[in-house]
Structures are given as structure tokens and as C-alpha cells.
């Protein structure tokens, strides 16, 4: 085992150490794989390890350093990639039997940018199948466990991305967030997870779930690491017509902890939601007090339509998903029955066998919502609700720079605990409205639940393309709170 302990280093420390010659990129790859070797049999964050790619990248960094070349901003930083993002040389399975043996033939833009910034591609990370879920229990290849307690879920759908960072297997990871799939697992694993503004990061190459909602974003152990990663992956992409031309700012450079005069809105009307733990509510109120103490102008605000977010999302998300997943038909790639009687039989049985139950549920929901005679009642109505939510946020951001809510109504739950879909869906109550409105938001650790010892998360929501403001606020809060992001289990094991 390497002497290097990744769990004790931030991505910034890693890349500074590489630049200073304290350790090589190759040693970092060794350290990453050593921890995976030690922990992943329990955690199961990875679906696929890619040492050939990682060591090739590491050798390039080490050679560049020896040659005295300027190193890229994430030089030598071990990184994990959610398994719904394409990368040549890997399988991109979306944790589905359907794509179990699908090999990428092109690179996802965000992944390419991360690797061009010097990050080492350690492997592909577990997730709920096609990103449908909040626990990774929907992975066709078995769930990921929470490094804070192996009996608990890590959240989802980017559960592998969250757990790998929490366990110190990698310094940063990429996830995707359609209704909370970055922020919810970040909250449940005590990590930082950022969902950028819709259009901030190219979606080219991430297997689409809800095209009007999906965004790729980073996980890190610190706000600073998330900012460094965002800087690498953000920006307009000619291959994504919805990517925005908005300037990519030097996010990490402005995290000075100063939030004096920042207008912070405490969202009060949705704090009382069904199933929101008292301790979760209290942690948000505490956070508001902390911002006030740091010199921010804190006031209460309401988002009257946000409570309709969940219902609207479970029409729009599945509607888009039912369309996006149509291409998995067994004709050109993916799972295919070999004894089909005709083309309809081939479609029907290949899809029935290839997709798991939650995926089939979403496809059925979405297909129904778009059907003739139901479109107006479901999809049309959901779009109206979406418009109201957008207006709520627009109004709120006329008065505030950031808004505070819990990330999730409760900390990490046990496997099998949420057996009916609706209870599971409620976990994304606070995160979903942000996707519907296209805003950016971060989840930053806000302490531990006194009862279970599991992490809690604070969601800080920003206006469109106001990532800088959100990261600034998150960094100040992180610094003031002083949360230790290393799970005891991990500390004990290595």
C-alpha cells in the first residue's frame, strides 16, 4: 500500500504536490487503486476500473513535470466518472443490463475537458440504472454502500460518484443531476456536490435522461475542489446546442470566505414538508444564523410553487426519458434477444429483459403522459407548473443572491427502507425545483445527525450562471462550520 492517503488530501493539495514534485502522478494513481482495493469490496462505488487509461495519463503528467512544462490545473488528480458518460476505452453501461457490454466510441465533452485538465481517469462509477433513483439500489450490478455506514444507501443516482469521493478513493468525481442526483448523494455522504446552471456544462456524451433537466457536475471533499473541477468542465460546446456562451469564471480564485452584504434568503414555506426531520430543519436555521454572523443580510423568503415541483418533475422527467430511452431497441447496440420472431418481438423482449423495473416504470409513465388525449392534462399541465416555479425563483433572485434549503428531508436511509416509489421520490423534494428552473445549486455538508451519525446537507441555490456566488457562500459556510469530511469507517480501515 502506498504511503499516500488520498482521503487526507484535497484535489488542490494533490495537484500542488504534483507540481512541487512531492509525489508523482503515478504514485497518486497507485494510492487511488490501493484504496479501491481495500474498500471497494464493501462500498462498491466502481463498476469498472481503467488503470491503463489512468497510468497513461499519469505518465504524461510526470513526463511533463520532468520536462519542466507548465502543468494543467488538475494535474495528477485521481477522478472517477459516473458510468453514464462516454469515454473511449471504457464501457458506458448506465448500470443497466441493456448496455452491459456497450463500448464508447466517442468522448463526453465534460469528461474530455476534465482529462485535458490533467485528471487521472481511475474508473467508471456505479449509479441507479439510467440515473433513475435516489439510492443506487436500482443499479443492475448491485448497490453502492455509504462509507459512513455500510447499512445505508449513499443516495443516488450518482451514488458511486459520492461514495468514491467520501471514501477517499478519488479526489473528485463527475456526476449528473436531473432532479437531485448530485446534491442528494453529496448530502448523504458528507461530500460537496454542485449542480451547475442548465447550459453551463455541455451534455454531449452523457446518456440523456431528462434533456431539459440534465446537468453534469462535480463532487469533491471541499467547495474549492468542486470549484476547480467546474472550471475544467464548464463552457460552451459546439456539440450541445443548449450549452451557454456565458463566461466561465475562475471559480476557485474567489473563495475568500467573505460573505458580508451577501443577500441570503431562508426558504421557509417548504421547510415543513412531509417527512422533513426536525434536525434537518434546525440545521438550515443554524446555517442561516451562521451566515448572519458572517455579515450576510439574511431574510426569509417563500417559493409558493416549489411544492408542485415533485409532481411536475415526475411527468416531465419520465416524458423526456421515455423518448430518450427509445433508442435502446436492440437493433444497433445493446441487449438483444437472439430468437425474435419479428421486429416488434425483438423490440419488446429486448427492452423487457434489458431494463430494470424502475426504468420500465419511468418509460411507462412518460409514454402515458405524452399520449394523445393525455398530453394537455399531464405534460401541458406540468409545463405550466414549471413556469410558475421559474417565476418563483426569478422573483426570489430579484431580492436575494442565494437561497437556503435542506438538500434532503432526512439523512441517509437503510437499504430497502423505501420500498414504495413515492417515498423514495420525496427524497428529491428540495432539489427538483432547481432543475425545473434551470438554476445552479450546491450541497455542502451541514453536520451529522445526532441520532444516526449520518451526514446532513445544506442546499445553497443561486441564480442562473451565478456559480461564483453560490461557491463563495458555500466556501464561507464550510470554513465557518469546520466539518470533518472523513467517515469514521474509512479512517478506521486505512
Amino acid at each position: 500500500m502506498s504511503a499516500l492517503d488520498l482521503s487526507s488530501l484535497s484535489a488542490r493539495q494533490v495537484r500542488d504536490g504534483v507540481a512541487a514534485g512531492d509525489f508523482s502522478a503515478r504514485e497518486l494513481a497507485d494510492a487511488s487503486y490501493a484504496r479501491i482495493q481495500a474498500l471497494d469490496a464493501d462500498v462498491h462505488a466502481f463498476l469498472q476500473l481503467t488503470p491503463a487509461l489512468a497510468y497513461e495519463a499519469a505518465d504524461r503528467i510526470d513526463a511533463a513535470r520532468v520536462a519542466g512544462e507548465e502543468l494543467p490545473p488538475l494535474a495528477g488528480v485521481p477522478a472517477g466518472i459516473k458510468d453514464n458518460m462516454n469515454l473511449i476505452g471504457t464501457r458506458t453501461t448506465c448500470a443497466s443490463r441493456m448496455l452491459e457490454s456497450y463500448e464508447s466510441v466517442y468522448d463526453c465533452t465534460a469528461v474530455r475537458r476534465l482529462l485535458d485538465a490533467g485528471a487521472l481517469p481511475i474508473g467508471k462509477l456505479n449509479m441507479d440504472e439510467f440515473a433513475f433513483g435516489s439510492s443506487t439500489e436500482n443499479s443492475a450490478f448491485g448497490p453502492t454502500r455509504n462509507p459512513w455506514s455500510l447499512d445505508c444507501v449513499p443516495g443516488g443516482s450518482s451514488g458511486g460518484s459520492a461514495a468514491s469521493v467520501a471514501a477517499g478513493m478519488v479526489s473528485i468525481s463527475l456526476g449528473s443531476d436531473t432532479g437531485g442526483s448530485i446534491r442528494q448523494p453529496a448530502a448523504l455522504t458528507g461530500t460537496v456536490g454542485l449542480k451547475p446552471t442548465y447550459g453551463r456544462v455541455s451534455r454531449y456524451g452523457v446518456v440523456a435522461f431528462g434533456s431539459s433537466l440534465d446537468q453534469i457536475g462535480p463532487f469533491g471533499k471541499t467547495v474549492d475542489d468542486a470549484a476547480l473541477a467546474l472550471e475544467a468542465i464548464a463552457g460552451e460546446d459546439p456539440y450541445d446546442a443548449t450549452s451557454a456562451a456565458a463566461t466561465v469564471e475562475p471559480y476557485a480564485a474567489v473563495l475568500d470566505g467573505d460573505v458580508r452584504g451577501l443577500r441570503v434568503g431562508l426558504v421557509t414555506d417548504i421547510l415543513e414538508v412531509e417527512g422533513c426531520a426536525a434536525e434537518v430543519r434546525q440545521s438550515v436555521l443554524d446555517a442561516a444564523k451562521m451566515f448572519a454572523a458572517l455579515g450576510a443580510d439574511v431574510a426569509e423568503v417563500t417559493l409558493p410553487s416549489a411544492k408542485h415541483g415533485l409532481a411536475a418533475y415526475y411527468v416531465i422527467g419520465p416524458a423526456e426519458a421515455s423518448s430518450n430511452l427509445a433508442r435502446f431497441d436492440g437493433i444497433r447496440y445493446g441487449h438483444r434477444v437472439d430468437d425474435a420472431a419479428d421486429v416488434i418481438d425483438l423490440y419488446s423482449r429486448s427492452r423487457t429483459e434489458g431494463f430494470g423495473p424502475e426504468t420500465i416504470r419511468r418509460i411507462m409513465l412518460g409514454t402515458y403522459a405524452l399520449s394523445a388525449g393525455y398530453y394537455d392534462a399531464y405534460y401541458g399541465q406540468a409545463q405550466k407548473a414549471r413556469t410558475l416555479i421559474i417565476q418563483d425563483f426569478r422573483k426570489a433572485f430579484e431580492q436575494f443572491d442565494v437561497l437556503l434549503t435542506p438538500t434532503t428531508p432526512e439523512p441517509a436511509f437503510r437499504f430497502g427502507e423505501k420500498s414504495d416509489p413515492y417515498t423514495m421520490y420525496l427524497n428529491d423534494f428540495y432539489t427538483i425545483p432547481v432543475n425545473l428552473a434551470g438554476n445552479c445549486a450546491i450541497s455542502v455538508p451541514s453536520g451529522l445527525c445526532s441520532e444516526s451519525g449520518m451526514p446532513l446537507g445544506l442546499q445553497i441555490i443561486g441564480d442562473h450562471f451565478a456559480e461564483t456566488t453560490v461557491l463563495r457562500a458555500a466556501a464561507a459556510y464550510e470554513k465557518a462550520l469546520g466539518f470533518d469530511t472523513t467517515p469514521p469507517l474509512v479512517r478506521g480501515r486505512v
Binding site: 453514464n84 456524451g205 450541445d240 443548449t242 416524458a319 423518448s323 433508442r327
Partner: protein, 521 residues
Amino acid sequence: MAKDRLLDVLERYEAVIGLEIHTEITAANTKMFCGCPVAFGGEPNTRVCPVCLGLPGALPVPNEAAIEWTVLAGLATDCDIALWSQFHRKQYFYPDMPKDYQISQYDLPFCSGGVIEVEVDGPGVAERIDLGGDAVSVGPGAVAEDGGYRTRIGITRIHLEEDTGKMVHVGGSEGRIAGATHSLVDFNRAGTPLMELVSEPDIRTPEEARRFAQKLRSIWLALGVSDCSMEEGSMRVDGNVSIRPRGATELGTKSEVKNMNSFKALHDALAYEIVRQADLLDAGEVVVQETRHWDATARRTSGLRSKEEAHDYRYFPEPDMVPFSFTPEWIEGLAAGLPELPDARRDRYMVDYALPKGDAAMLAADTATGCYFDATVDIAGADRAKQVANWMLGDLTAHVNAAGIGMGDARVTPALLAELIGLVEDGAISGKQAKQVFAEAAETGDAPGAIVEARGMKQVSDTGAIEAVVAVVLEANPAEVESYRAGKTSVIGFFVGQVMREMRGQGNPAVVNEVLRRMLG
């Protein structure tokens, strides 16, 4: 099917026809949502990428040139251009469609509410039984002429979408799916920008349908939007046709006819379908709403599906692209760049140069020919436009057809043709000589003046020189002189031939004639 069967049916029934015309925007060079080249044929699956193969995670990026071409097409057919428009997903499963949805347009097409005026003349006029024969007039602004008529066909919409791939069915007969053991898919065509024009059901006869499609093709060619090859499938015409008893206002059940690979096939398939439906109704049966396939060899249509499948395409707005908003200024800018369309060009030729309608229409039929004519007349002068037209529709057309080249590629450029016509009109060479000069110029690209010089072809108009030759010829043919003077003036031709032979063809025929008549008389 005998033609009079159609006329017989049309005596009793009125046909109601609407066309759906798909045209590939071959001018766009690249596919609708990716950078793959647009071309016909080629090794299967060689012009493909993650986007047009619908690979997981790939996204469409709209081809702006294709959108501009579509708007131009709309402007050329009097459509309203939407200021706000978007793509929708049309969803159905089929192996030639990589995403199992087609990016198309639904309630917000780029163009809507246009019109095309169609002229019908010749034998096809007879199909309009209700107009009762010869000179007729239909619709607003229609003018009766040439025993034909004009009618206006409305255009419901023109929208933009992506083409599908192509299936090859193996193991059945003639590549049809029936009886096939398996199918192959070629995605080279998948994603090609495709304009779909939907006409109003304003068409009443197969001939009008044919004329409409031909007119549309000539407009598309004038714009340069597509090569409009019906054989290669870059222009595909489907017809919706129903019939109803004359005088009835309620529409009959329609059938949709596909697979017409030529304008003649379009006419014949619709004619067949009208008669078939009439036979059913006459026998007390009903027409079933279905898609029918035209078999050009058997000259009949057959049902593609036993029962019309009730497709629910589950259209919804394409979330991978933001909606398009156009300014009136942008649309006006495109309109200002519209080329002169075939009808306007033809009318201009008739008015400005007094060309006969048929000639004017042929010269105006495509932009290359029209531009060649205009350029030549610019140099030769408007008073020689008739000669320019004659040369172009005669020797030049024959030449480019034989050489398999376009008018614009001919080595006889407008400047050279104007020079040649000048030589004839100025009497420097005869018409017969001019044909030789043209042939040589077409071969070499040399200037007619230089050819005439090099070949010593200068025409002799000098009266004295001609008189000397005429004297010799008359002297040598006393018998013919006698018969001319006895009143058999037709032997003048014999003398002209003799004189021309003596002069190796260089005598000015008019002067030779004049001298002969004088010396004989």
C-alpha cells in the same frame, strides 16, 4: 388502364387530391443535426457519426443553412414565415430511425399558408370534366389561354425534419419486406435535411397533381435548394386521394399512395387509384383508409397494410434545442436574395423579347439556362434575343445534352454565342457556315471570329465577284436557263446550288439569289 376509364369515372365523381412532397436539401452539404456530408449512395454506413447513428449521449445541433433554405423555399411559394418556431420529436419505433424518434416539426413549422399557380394545357385539360373542354378559367386571377387553364393550389405548410436511413430487405421478392428473412440498414441517408411540403386538398385531377409537382420542382431548382431527383429519392411525392359523387360536399375516405418515382408515375398512380375507388363505390363497397404502394411495372397500387395503424406519435417539443426566433429583418434579407423564379422569368422573356410562350418557358425552366440566355442577350442586344433563343434551344441544347454537361459548362460561352450570332446577322457568314463554326467552337472553345478567319470562311457579298460566277454557271447550263425563262422558276434552286459550289459555300445566299434573278430575268 385506359385513359377513357379515368375520364368516364371523372364524369361521375370528383377527385380530391392533396400531395405531400419530401425534398432533401442537397444544397445544405451537411446533415441536419451533425457534420456528416449529404450525398447519394456510397458504401453503406460510411457517412455516419455518433449523432446520426443515435448513439447514447449524442446531441443534435441544427444546421442553420438548412433552415435558411427552408425559409427561402417558403418565401418562393408565398408562405408566411413563422417568427417563432421549434422542432418536435415524432416518436415511433422503426429500424431505419436510429433514435426511434424523428426530429421534425409539429404545430410550429417554419413556413405555412402558401400558394402555387399551376397551368394545365394539352390533353390533360380534358381531365377537368367540370370545366367542359377548351378555353377555361379557374380560380382567382386565372387566365384562359392556349385552350388551357390555370388553377391555384394552396400550400398548408413546409416544415423541416431529418431523413431516415434506408432498409434493404433480404430474402423476399424484389427487396420488399414481404417474405424477407432479414433486413439490413444503411444510415448514410439518416439525418439528411428534409423539407416536407403539404398541399391543401385543392387538386382535382391527376394532371393537376403532376403539374403541381413539376412546378414545385422547377422552383426548387431555381432556388438551388435541391437536385430534386425523383429517381434517387431526393424528391419524393406521396398523394392523398379520395373521390366523391359530383355535387357532394362531404369528403370520401382517402388512400395514401406512395412510391411514385417519376411525374408520369404520379399521374398514373393517382389515375389508377381514382378508378379503383370508383369501382369499389360502384360495386357498393367502401374505400378503406390505407397506404398503398404504386408498382410501376404492374401499373397498379397495392395495400401496404391490411389495416391502418392508429399511430400516436406522442409529439413533444425537442428539448435538445432552444426554439428559433426570427426577426422580420432577417426574413426580408433572405427574401431580397431570392432568385427570379421560373414563372416570372418566362413572363419577362415573353414581354421583353416577344418570345413564344413555349420557348420562353423552356429557357426559364432552370436557372442555369435562364442565366445563360440573359448573359447572351446582354451582349448580343435585345433585338437579337430571338436568334439567341433559337441557338440555345437548337444547337446548344443538343450539344450540352450530347456532352452530358450543364448549360453553364458549355465551352461556347454567352460571349462566344453572341459573337457568332453577330457574324451571321452582319452577313459575314451564312447560317450554314455558322453551324460549322458553332460545332468547332463547342469543341475547342475558340472564338467564332477566329475560326472564320482560320478556315477562310468569310462570306462573299461582293456583287461583282458573284456576277462573274453566275455568268459562268448560266453559260454552262443553257437548258436550265431556257426552262427558267419558260416559266419554271423553281430551277432557281439548282442555280443557287451551282453558284455556291463554285464559291465553296462562301457566297452570301441573299446576294446570290438577287444576282441570279436579275441575270436570268
